[in-house]
């Protein structure tokens, strides 16, 4: 996506004017009570990729660019940018009036330090750092990128919503070692962190930042004006799903981020509540095969498994019998998003004759090696996903051993590169937000760097890596889309992972509130109905 200088400067001038005209919104001690998916134990959005930390970060930290509901980048903290020298130099201008929560003015050097810290942790950020010769603060309001080659995705990188987002923080905090947690929460977002009222495992409190000046326009995703309509946003940590349901029904809280499907059915029947999907990309199941150990070090065996996957089995096991709550078939990009393609997807919807897989496996070179499937039992969706996989492998004729444990143990064990007999593993499945698979730029599963990539399974595919590099340098959307199709085609040859279907999650809130945006829980724009 190539962003024109005049388009951006024009748009930013209009938004500045609209900002000035925007009425100040203030209501007396209004509180929005929200139940998040889990407690936000880690506050630094670069120290973890946990979604709950990312959601917290969007309250506290602002970003240079936002991502609108159509997944396009749009200026947020920046007024606009200028692209020169054939796309090798980007000059970003900060919009006036930006302040940190400690009252200091946001300076370009703060942003440069923030970008560097992010670039050390995030994969897309790392790509940008690799391309950058120089990132400097030209003056208090101007950031300049000098690049080795054109990088048209720069706004998309700085405005990405999937973890790790690129949070802006004061230089003194941004200079913290990227592998050490920043615990002092000073951002420039529409809400400020209230550390005094924080009780881990119980409540997290955010207060409206009076010094925040929203930009103009229309709120869309994380782009547009971030107008806080509530004085306080309280995150109430409630561990039990039945208690969360009762708390929402009794009116003790206003909004529950992600009720499981059983509870969502109850909430949908409540006339005082709205229960709906806010993230069209949903959650996408993915199966990782360990390519370091037999039998999945053999691509031919992986391809047989790919053909055996019947995505509907996974979708129903996790999303239930209501077809509105899931979608199959799914390729390497979420259905309905810009890079999604139907190429090769027919295999996922064809009914399977499992008798044919045993000879195919033998022909592919499977010699009866033990297949160790890691099954997390404490996260319901992952347990269901793992059980469907175990059944499929058994029916295919694999020698399967299911190792059941909690997710914490799976996370540790899947990092092991050891052979099966020494605690190694063969396969595990997980569910990630569709947002994480929206673009080849940050699609972690769609990589083929082998051991160097550090992703459990260690998929190796030089062709996928080459196509990704081509995609990053593609001059326009047409070229990007064509390369995305090729990426899917290659993914079904090298099988770095197997998509298992898309499941949608719903959010539930009282009818007395309105303005709930997506695709993640966003707290600006929400207001009393």
């Amino acid at each position: 996506m190539w962003l024109k200088r005049r388009t951006f400067l024009g748009a930013s001038a209009a938004t500045t004017a609209a900002t000035l005209a925007a009425p100040a919104v203030a209501q007396a001690a209004s509180v929005l009570k929200f139940i998040p998916q889990s407690d936000v134990t880690v506050l630094d959005p670069l120290w973890t990729t946990a979604y709950v930390t990312r959601n917290h970060a969007f309250l506290v930290f602002d970003t240079l660019y936002g991502m609108d509901a159509n997944f396009n980048p749009a200026p947020q903290m920046v007024e606009g940018h200028v692209v020169e020298n054939g796309g090798r130099q980007w000059t970003l201008k900060l919009r006036p009036g930006l302040k940190w929560h400690d009252g200091e003015k946001v300076l370009a050097r703060d942003c440069v330090a923030s970008i560097r810290r992010w670039g050390a942790r995030d994969a897309f950020g790392g790509t940008l750092m690799h391309v950058a010769d120089e990132i400097v603060a030209v003056d208090d309001n101007t950031i300049r990128f000098r690049l080795k080659r054109p990088f048209p995705l720069l706004p998309a990188a700085l405005g990405k919503v999937p973890s790790n987002m690129c949070p802006m923080m004061p230089e003194r905090l941004a200079k913290t070692d990227p592998f050490k947690q920043v615990t002092e929460m000073v951002g420039s977002g529409p809400f400020r962190w209230n550390a005094k009222e924080r009780v881990v495992g119980s409540i997290a409190v955010y207060e409206k930042f009076q010094g925040y000046e929203p930009r103009g326009g229309v709120a869309s995703g994380t782009a547009g004006p971030k107008v806080a309509h509530y004085d306080r946003v309280e995150w109430h940590i409630i561990p039990d799903a039945a208690t969360k349901t009762a708390a929402l029904q009794s009116g003790e809280v206003d909004w529950w981020e992600n009720p499981p499907s059983d509870n969502a059915m109850v909430l949908k029947a409540d006339k005082n509540l709205v229960t709906r999907i806010i993230d069209p990309t949903g959650l996408i199941g993915s199966m990782r095969l360990n390519q370091l150990v037999p039998p999945f070090d053999n691509p031919a065996v992986r391809r047989v498994v790919l053909d055996a996957v019947y995505q509907k089995d996974y979708a129903v096991a996790i999303g239930g019998t209501d077809p509105a709550m899931w979608h199959v078939p799914v390729g390497v990009f979420p259905p309905g998003t810009p890079y999604a393609s139907d190429l090769g997807l027919k295999r996922f919807t064809e009914k399977k004759d499992f008798a044919q897989f045993k000879p195919r496996l033998e022909k592919a070179g499977y010699k009866g090696e033990k297949v160790v499937l890691l099954l997390p039992t404490d996260i319901e969706v992952l347990k269901a996903e793992g059980e469907v996989s175990a059944d499929m492998f058994r029916r295919m004729g694999f020698n399967v051993q299911v190792d059941a444990s909690d997710w914490g143990t799976v996370v540790e064990r899947r990092a092991s590169m050891k052979p099966i007999g020494q605690g190694g593993w063969s396969v595990f499945s997980t569910f990630w937000a569709g947002l994480d698979q929206l673009s080849p730029a940050w699609h972690v599963f769609l990589r083929g760097q082998g051991k160097a990539g550090g992703q459990p399974g260690w998929p190796s595919s030089p062709k996928i890596e080459a196509l990704r590099q081509e995609w990053l340098a593609a001059p326009d959307e047409k070229a990007q889309k064509a390369l995305a199709v090729k990426l899917q085609e290659q993914a079904f040859v090298d099988v770095p992972y197997i998509p298992l279907g898309q499941v949608f999650w719903e959010t539930s809130y009282k009818k007395s509130i309105t303005g709930v945006l997506g695709p993640i829980p966003i707290f600006w724009n929400v207001r009393p109905a």
Partner: protein, 313 residues
């Protein structure tokens, strides 16, 4: 007596040391890696290794244990791996909830269970006795979380008398504090009431068959005086013992009750820490729980002297 108390308090030190070593060893050999959990699902193995090194989780067992023990000896239970907050502060934040829950449960349970047990013994073999014992069996049999859900559904959702979840500190007023704890205490107290009532009944039956009770009756002493002055005091030692033993069950039950009613107590802190492998928090909480349990047992031992003057330390 003072010497005895000091000796018992001093004896807790090696006990705590053993508990510390046991818990630390158990966590060391248990599977799970906090660095991997912190880094998140998308992190690379290199990033996880980097975080592990930053947190010192790659150091040998002896060094990690020595570091931790040294901190504990200086009154510092360490810092949470996840939140970076001092463990002591996290426990301090949570302790009032758990203490409130336990105190109310304890008082309520004793106030209900002891008269129930006494009455059952007095009316032994009658429908009153059987009814009380059926209630006690139910108290044992129905899981804590089922009781919790039923109470919350009835008295919070259908009849909005109490909150579904959450804790109001005492500083917000006695009634809001009490209101937030009534359902959790009833939930938690079920097993405890059953346990105390059964022991009280059994002990009272034994005492009521003693000669001195018969003598008291023959002398025309009133029923209430026989039960509560003569019999109950002599039955108190086993009852107090079971109250002390039941305290451990109370700690275990608090974990479930705090989860059902979303009470920010130490029980939930423990569960969350275990799921995340937040080692310093787990070690700190277990150490504190052990210390409290040892103290409760000491108090129980001292109470013996109050109820039975023949016991001397």
């Amino acid at each position: 007596m003072l010497t005895y108390i000091l000796r018992r308090v001093a004896a807790t030190i090696p006990v705590m040391g053993l508990v510390a070593l046991f818990v630390f060893s158990l966590l060391y050999i248990a599977p799970g890696d906090p660095a991997a959990i912190i880094a998140g699902d998308q992190a690379t193995t290199q990033q996880i290794a980097h975080i592990r090194a930053t947190l010192g989780l790659d150091k040998p067992f002896v060094i990690r244990f020595a570091d931790w023990l040294w901190q504990v000896l200086h009154g510092n239970l360490g810092t949470s791996i996840f939140t970076n907050l001092p463990v002591l502060k996290m426990i301090e934040q949570r302790a009032p909830t758990t203490i409130s829950l336990m105190v109310i449960t304890l008082v309520m349970s004793i106030a209900i269970a002891v008269p129930m047990g006494v009455l059952a013994a007095w009316k032994a073999g009658t429908w009153v006795d059987r009814l009380i014992m059926v209630m006690a069996v139910m108290g044992f049999s129905v899981p804590v979380f089922v009781v919790g859900y039923l109470l919350a559904y009835t008295f919070a959702l259908k009849l909005p008398w109490f909150p579904v979840q959450g804790y109001e500190p005492l500083s917000h007023g006695v009634w809001p504090w009490l209101r937030s704890l009534i359902l959790p205490s009833l939930t938690l107290g079920g097993i405890y009431i059953a346990l105390i009532a059964r022991i009280t009944r059994a002990t009272m039956l034994e005492v009521l068959s003693q000669d001195y009770i018969r003598t008291a009756r023959a002398k025309g002493v009133g029923r209430r005086a026989i039960l509560y002055v003569h019999a109950l005091k002599n039955a108190a030692v086993p009852i107090v013992t079971i109250i002390g033993i039941g305290f451990a069950a109370l700690i275990g039950g608090a974990v479930v009750t705090e989860s059902v009613f979303a009470l920010p107590g130490v029980g939930r802190l423990t569960v969350d820490a275990i799921l995340q492998r937040d080692y310093p928090v787990i070690q700190g909480v277990v150490l504190i729980f052990s210390f409290v349990y040892v103290l409760v047992n000491l108090v129980v031992d001292l109470l013996y002297t109050l109820f039975d003057p023949r016991i001397r330390y």
